[in-house]
Amino acid sequence: MAKKNNKPKISLKRAVNSIASNKPVTRKRQRGTAVAAAGSSKTLQALTSAAVMLPGLLLPSAQAADGDHINFQFSRYQESKRNLFGIPNSQNPIRADILHGSGLFTLTDRAKFAFSYTQDIWSGATPIVTSPLAANPYSPIRRNTPSGTVVAGASPLMNPSEGVLLDRDLNPLQRDTGMQDTRSVLVLATASPETRNQANFRLGYEWYEAEINASAGFSLENDYKSSFGNLGGRLDFNQKLTSVKFGAGYTSSDISAILDHDAAPYLTKTAFSDQIRRREDGAEILRAERQDWAANIGVTQVLTKHSLVDANFGYTHSNGYLENPYKAVTVIFVDPEVLNNGQTTPILGDVRALLEQRPGQRNQFAFSTKYIQHINPLDAALHFNYRFSTDDWGINTNTFSANWIQPLPGGWIVTPRIRYYSQDSADFYQPYLITQQNYSTQAVDSLGRNIWVDSNNPDIEYVRDENFNLLDSEGNIVSVSDVQPKTIPFDAGKLPGDFSSDHRLAGFGALSGGVTLRKEFAKGIALEAGFEYYTRASSMKLGSGGGNSFADFDYYVANAALTINPGIMSLPGSSGHAHHHAHTGKDNSHKHSRHHLQPAGLMFAHMLDNPGEFMVGYNFMYSRMGGNMLHGSNTVSDPTIVSEGCSTEILCTFKPAEMDMRMHMLDIMYAPTRWLNLMLMPRFMDMEMHLQELEGRPPPEPGEHQHFGGHTTGVIGDTLIASLIKLYEKQGHRVHAGLGISAPTGKTDLEIRRVFRVDGGAIHFGMQLGSGTWDFVPSLTYTGEYNRWNWGAQVSGVKRMEDRNESGYRLGDLFQATTWGGIDLTSWLTASVRGLYTLQDRIHGDFNTLNARIGPMDFPSNYGGQFWNIGLGVNAIIPDGRFAGHHFGFEWLQPVHTDVNGFQLDRKGALTASWSYRF
């Protein structure tokens, strides 16, 4: 109460006068007003306090993420092909697709909760080692064609068996011409698609001039698991003209790298032999740990009413396994006796690949500063950034970037940007190493005789006498059939302590430029699209060039994002406000919530009623297959699958053991009129399949495609575009039709990587991401309700409108019928039960490219069938509070009967979770 009494009375008129007179206000004077509280000073103080309370005038820099919001973002990273100096390169370059969803919600006035989820899927050819070009580190892949044999590509070699010729100064020489050739080349290997999932959660608490945050999260990959935590905060001083930010974080990572089964036999791993285990299926796993501690502190300072500056300092300490387990270094072993034999002829180097070795710890320091200037005539802002970083690996970096943020009429903002980056090489970076010793030598005893060992028991040693007889340790002639030379490996002490040829540790420069477009729509929705082109060049390094132009490449990144701000949506006066009242008002709630009652797994089942209304939704679907293999509706044994599951000519060797599918679908709906709704539904998915070798399969042929672990695919699926048309409406009953088109945005030509130099070919039909054809998707829905009860029925279908997709096949047409009933448990919670019948035709046509055909999943007749499910679901509409009007739904679909075409894996069930909001 005392505070209230002290509060100066605001005279609006006087306040306005005070601004109009534009009196200079000094800090001293402001202080004076607070004490004296007299006359216009009093007004000023009042105005100041009032103005500071306006959210828009808070220093924005300190609260970059203020206001509730939900974001969806899709981004694609695409690299160019690497320069292989004319060697045919049939490998696709690296591509990464990133799917991101995040949100920030105000729990109470002061407490905030934020989450983010990111999924990356990447694939393509990545450098595993750098080699002298003269060592011919690629062998041609030849393919027979009617016109003769052609070179179709090149297969990487890590240990070129012919070695490399060197002159006496150890410069590589071309094998055919004998000319000196000091060029290096990257040796690329294709990786199967790899998925990473990351989730973060953050809790924040805010005071008027301070904020603290605690966050935690994890990142999961097959071979790399991290968990991290962070504490941070912000303090404002000087009437919020100065903000100090600080944070500290810790990350712990577990690495269990599956060494490439193509590369592992050719890799020298002795330095890590303690950490490598052999798995049951023969794969070698390198296990290691890593820890990172990080701290940062920063300050944001307003300089004038048109400019501010932000400066940050960061320190990171890392220790443990800091290597990249998939990178090796070429080491050329030269026999010192041959090198120093006094002749001048070329000598032969033994080319080997050793797993890279980096220091066990790293300390990094970074300083970044940003100057932001408002350009008044254009209402634009110029952001200029500079960052310097250094570490104890010898890598100093300089980064300059500038952004011009230009608002335009109509809610558009366009932001061109440019960036230049330069880094020095790490002390231990080398494209390749040359060492004057043999890779291995045969051991000799004290008398200079070569030592042999029993192949079955390497501890038993022998020597040979002058008659080539084997002698045991006591000098007796023995007869052992299986002996081999005892070898002494190279002396690792003669190599540098650390070495890496990872081009990210080389010296280089990079220039990139891009543009971001943002469009603010009414009702708190913004769309963002960004594009950036990046070019790396060794010659662009600050100072002298980096001398590693063989590693130069370009990439582009394109992304699109949707940002929704529910806070703005529900501002008083907007239609969102009315909508909330509809849900909170007891009388109206039933009428207006009706369209949310349908089970979550059902599509096209509800319509928006009010012209101009929008709905934004997100659906997550997870389905799992596993258990027994079915033939029709009966379980089938392995031997039957081997002989009948594939074709009359081909016996099956593998079967699917389990398959998971996750799909993320955005649901954007708009009602231009009362009777018509338009819908756009982009879909993103990832799938994982594990295979199992069939019992009684025919024995493997040499060079056969072997499967270790599983396959993954992702991420863009087909996109649905639909319209809903209201046909009939009467109290408690309505009928509407849906006319939809599915656009073939999902790929159907995904391939299994090349293994053991054998192309895997197209990945199984069921693992492809789309249909590959334009599809017609009609539906007819009836819904009814009475008191607490609601019910409905829907028939829907998918008709492929093309005979074949680009890969040569067409998925079967689909028909679905479903009916459901539901009851309101409370005014905001509904439960539903549903029956679902699905009929799907087999696949027609077949892959027009190579397909491994190893199991039932590779044959078109083993797709489709009849499926019966029972669905159990709940739906909730948050009645009031911060999330009023948000709708959440869950439904589990339990298979009750399955009758498949041909041979297929049984189903385990499917879960749908949905969120939506209308405004």
Binding site: V25, T26, L47, T48, L57, L59, P60, A64, A65, Q73, Y77, A96, I98, H100, T126, A191, N200, S215, D223, Y224, S226, G229, N230, L241, S253, I255, D292, N296, Q301, V302, L303, V309, G314, T316, P325, Q364, F365, F367, H374, N376, D379, A380, H383, R387, F388, S389, D391, I395, N396, I405, P407, Y421, Q423, L505, T516, G530, Y534, R536, V557, N559
Partner: protein, 75 residues
């Protein structure tokens, strides 16, 4: 030697920022500063993607590494 060089740059920059701390901008003159384009990070989503890509292709240290985040970036 490198670190010494680095700390000198740091010291100059920080003292520059602190020296400017005496500036006064009354609250009612902060209209421009409150605009979207004047935010220190006006595009957090874009920024996040860019940093993710840079950090997988460059060896520079970050001033925001304590924000957390994992992953091998092994490609």
């Amino acid at each position: 030697m490198k670190f010494k060089h680095f700390f000198i740059i740091l010291l100059i920059s920080v003292s520059g920022v602190l020296a400017s701390g005496c500036a006064q901008v009354p609250v009612w003159e902060r209209g421009h500063l409150a605009k979207h384009q004047m935010a220190v990070d006006p595009y957090p989503l874009q920024n996040h993607i860019q940093l993710h890509n840079y950090s997988s292709r460059e060896a520079a240290a970050s001033t925001h590494s304590s924000d957390g985040g994992g992953g091998c970036g092994c490609y």
